[in-house]
Point group: C2
Chain length 188, copies 2
């Protein structure tokens, strides 16, 4: 894999994510991706042999970025639950702080992708299932799951722009979630 090829591939993935977040998944056409990336459709299909391959690549990149960020948060000394809260915090509220940059929109792109086709969802299910399994073995599984659910719900809310609270309230919510996550991690 040459350097040049990699750059183009990244451009294509960037273009695809841009389209998904700005226009939705149903507007994600090969022509549009190629045009946005400044490449011909032939060029696009050279790198990603099918639309599915392209979407898979999007999911995989997001997955990798997310995992790396989570790992780095744990290396900073945070427990698994608190690191999970901070993962959302970083990607939703302070994207500039994160070494690996995942902004809300990219998360959203992933989520929408996830929503549209079960097939892409399956790629995540196994990973996430094992991941959340540990959440059910903390000192307070009920509270842990509530925290988890709250974060996912908050993400959805931000995505759809529905019932989004003022910034201070949002900060306060995150703060309280971190506080509780920290308490749970301490007990575990």
């Amino acid at each position: 894999m040459t350097n040049r090829s990699n750059i183009t591939k990244q451009k294509l993935l960037d273009a695809a994510t841009d389209i998904i977040m700005s226009q939705g998944v149903h507007q994600l056409t090969l022509d549009e991706v190629a045009k946005t990336a400044g490449v011909s459709k032939g060029g696009l299909l050279y790198h990603y042999a099918s639309k599915e391959a392209l979407m898979t690549a999007i999911v995989e990149r997001l997955q990798q970025e997310q995992n790396e960020l989570y790992a780095s948060l744990q290396q900073e000394g945070h427990g698994p639950v608190e690191a999970f809260v901070r993962l959302f915090d970083e990607t939703n509220l302070h994207p500039e702080r994160a070494a690996i940059h995942i902004d809300v929109e990219k998360m959203i792109a992933f989520l929408t992708l996830f929503a549209v086709d079960q097939e892409y969802a399956d790629r995540w299910k196994q990973d996430l299932d094992t991941f959340f399994a540990q959440f059910q073995k903390t000192a307070d599984p009920v509270e842990t799951m509530i925290i988890r659910y709250a974060l996912e719900g908050m993400m959805m809310s931000e995505h759809f722009g529905v019932g989004v609270p003022p910034a201070e309230l949002k900060q306060a919510i995150i703060a309280r979630l971190i506080e509780r996550a920290h308490a749970i991690d301490s007990q575990s």
Copy 2:
């Protein structure tokens, strides 16, 4: 609107929701809806002049059912926050108890619809924004929003079937959410 017409329309909406939940929104084609409903495409288009009209009807039916259920829960004496929790509880865990029947799948159909196109989302935004505005004026807005987010996140989790906890844990989560919602309503 004759009786016969109404039955067919309901059949069509049922078929459409079935398809969305079993195969995803991208498989929601007019041909497929017609076929599933046991009606020709012409018949379908007779009742819903366009695909958008059909989807709008799906959203509106769900919206209406949800509003009615929420209102009935409040009439049972529950405060706004607790009623909100119980709304999700009814539709997610005890669908058989509800007078107005909304099962998980229909909720899911709505959500998926919501996820795919901003246009359908806009139909809800205003309503939901004013609705959630009252949640920011309870005795504990932070906790109230956490409860709300948790319910939405839980719904998503159920939808995608990712990281779904065992039934007892799910029950415990709902129980604790109801408990806290009740406390907030009492203080407000």
